[in-house]
Amino acid sequence: QFVASTEEPASGDEAVTNQLDPADQVPAIEFWIQTQAADPIRYEAGLMVAESWKELGFEVDAQTREWASMSAEGMKAHEHDAFMVKWGGKPERVDPYHWLYSMHHSSAADEGGYNIAGYINPVYDALAEEFATNLDLEARQSAAMEMQELLARDVPQPPMFKLELKNAYNQAKFTNVTPGVGLGVYSFWNFMNITPKTDDKILNLGQVNDINLLNPLATKTGQDIYMLKNIYDPLVRLDVKGEAVLWLATELNEIDDTTIEITIRDDVKFHDGEPLTVEDVKFTFDFAKEVNSPTYKGHVKSIESVEITGENTVTFKLFEPYAPFISNTLSQCLILPKHIWSKAYEEKGAEGVLTWDNLPAIGSGPFVFDYWRPNEEFALKTNKEYFQKPKIDAIIRTPYAQAIGLVQGLVAGEVELTSANMLPLDLEAVAKNPDIAIVELPDEGSYIIHYNMRTAPFDDVYARRALTMAIPRQKIIDVVLDGGGLSTFSLISETNEFWFNPDVEQLDFNLDAARKELENAGYRWDDKGRLYYPENFQVTPIMPE
């Protein structure tokens, strides 16, 4: 057993007493760490965190868990003590609704909700509601700032660090690489903009995993969804910085807080030649509700109705004001061809439509589905009639199963682009091929520890703060990431300048400060260095004002 505890007795201060009531001992923390197989970074980092917590006098039972069980028991059922995950910084999270509302509003604290920590703070809730429903950008911004401060103080689920992502591409063959926020070179904009330097206009994209499912109504993974975005069009797209830009829509007209009128392009055709009309737009939203598409569900639930109000206009009516409607709903819902899906619906029924592989996927986007040999190759070709033409002729996407194969593929010139993050050893390897260039981009998401405020000792804000201060952020970055990372203190990335609050409290690694925090709250240690609750202990869930 290598997780040998290296407990030192806490340095001789007055808190050390010998006659402590065993009942007062702080309960052991069951800390779930992801398996090495699933993610070596989380695994190694987790072990380091556990070690560090032990030094504070906490008893830590570090257990490795498979993602499936961790997510079912922790993310979903909230039966954890603490566990560590990485939240992805997708473009639709640039509007921090997910970070600030979904993850911390008290309404999301029940099973299945994203308030995994169980953070319940009425003050915060009020701010969150303001943030969600007020369509005024500035009001939302100031609420967001305040919320970030509260979170930094109460640390229900502290962010720890994030990666400095590095994507590789072959600069001898391509130029104009345009990484997008949160997705790097897997972004739609990159596929639109990347420009061949040679006559070979086929882009060989190497990824680790294969596409799984191309059914927009049922797909779940990012790899699938963002590939679908090349085949299908939404009404608006989020640009490289995550800001909404018009796409199928030519005009957005906010009639009132809950009514939006949208005009769409009239020159778009589906890949089978049928024109894309407002019928299709209305159909998409109605249909997603009708068949209960789990993928669309979260987006369309705010919509009360969609009506065709003109040759090229539709009007959305919402149940209540929903600020991120444009950025998060309209950008995520891909418009489906009615003629295909209604026919499929007739043949297969609601369930059948959702379990359909939808091959060949027919959309209206800049790329057309060509062929797919699972686990071997997936190919898209360019839509020649599209209103904005990509510079490349085709994308061939190869799943390499392991990063190592991918890296070798890059070196060998088989792969010309990949969104897989290049680790130090990979960089060393690809350096063999001078044609390989690296684009650096900060990750919008970060590694987070989810405490569970429903259980001790995480129900006490001082314990949480102390534990947070015991996270050796920099050491992890140095040792595990070989320097390729940044400490984070807010869930919102600092590159997301509009929403980011740089002035929040930073509980960085400082064991002494952590001890102080506990001491001040009355925590005590015995002569073996084990931590005990204060006498007549009263839980303080959030930082008192």
Binding site: Q1, F2, V3, A4, T35, Q36, A37, A38, P40, Y43, E44, L47, A62, T64, E66, Q402, A403, I404, V407, L423, L425, D426, E428, A429, D478, V479, V480, D482
Partner: protein
């Protein structure tokens, strides 16, 4: 028994096998003394950097891993798991398999049909996939890996032992024992069992080998005990960290060690096979 031992002593392959095995057993026993470092401890240079991927040197006999851990220490400590898994599974497999084989073969009839039916079903279970699922269900851990190995591999020995018993059962010395009034239990365990010992020993040895191999395979697939250093896991970590083309000192030792230890099992098994099958012995 003495007889077996004598024959074993004459068998070169058996002796080589036994020597290799004993070597690893000794390493396992004295692992704590032999390992210069804690195998999971990250080693730093004096000036603070992590000792990443150092090639072998006096300080680190087999070099270091990407995370700066001492490979020699990992190898030494890893021996423990290998030997432990090997020995425990082998003993369990041989014990279960032999007893089931003995009972099925001796009593025949419905007992045999049921037991052999179970064995038949077991034969339909592909080992590695089953082990993967089982370990997922029970969670990673050496004991679960052993369980998976034992649950599957007893089938092999029980079939062969049964066949052996069937032929022994009709040998006249068994009938003579029956005529002496010996009970079934006595016949089974005093007369028949000692005669299947060489065959059982084949299975002890080969199950040990296959258990070690299985453990390393499971670990290589990332499902081994995450809190224990094992050879398979060293290889897995190496493979995963993408250093396998760069750091031969990291790839080679675990593979060689697995090969040798597994080899020792098969070599001993082979020796027992020659003992059990005189046709192979006298030439």
């Amino acid at each position: 028994m003495k007889n077996i031992f004598k024959l074993f002593k004459k068998n070169i392959i058996g002796i080589i096998g036994l020597s290799i095995f004993m070597f690893f057993v000794l390493v396992a026993i004295f692992a704590d003394q032999l390992a210069p470092y804690d195998p999971m401890e990250i080693q730093f240079f004096a000036e603070g950097g992590v000792k990443r991927l150092l090639s072998p040197s006096m300080g680190h006999l087999l070099g270091t891993t990407y995370m700066g851990r001492d490979i020699f220490s990992q190898m030494v400590i890893g021996t423990r798991i290998a030997v432990l898994v090997g020995v425990i599974s082998a003993v369990c497999v041989a014990f279960i398999g032999t007893n089931i084989g003995l009972i099925a073969g001796y009593f025949g009839g419905i007992v045999e049909r049921i037991l052999m039916g179970i064995v038949d079903v077991m034969y339909g279970i592909p080992f590695l996939p089953f082990a993967l699922i089982l370990v997922s269900v029970l969670g990673p851990g050496v004991q679960n890996v052993i369980l998976a190995i034992v649950l599957i591999t007893w089938r092999n020995s029980s079939r062969v032992i049964r066949a052996q018993v069937l032929s022994l059962k009709n040998r006249t010395f068994i009938e003579a024992a029956k005529l002496s009034g010996a009970s079934d239990f006595r016949i089974l365990y005093k007369h028949i069992a000692p005669n299947v010992v060489p065959v059982s020993l084949i299975y002890v040895s080969t199950s040990m080998a296959s258990a070690i191999m299985s453990e390393s395979s499971i670990s290589f697939l990332g499902l081994g005990d995450p809190m224990q250093v094992s050879w398979g896991r060293i290889l897995f970590t190496c493979y995963q960290s993408q250093a396998m083309f760069k750091a031969p000192w990291w790839v080679l030792p675990p593979g060689i060690a697995i090969t040798l230890l597994v080899l020792s099992g098969y070599m001993m098994g082979r020796a027992f096979e020659e003992i059990a099958n005189p046709k192979l012995r006298e030439r």
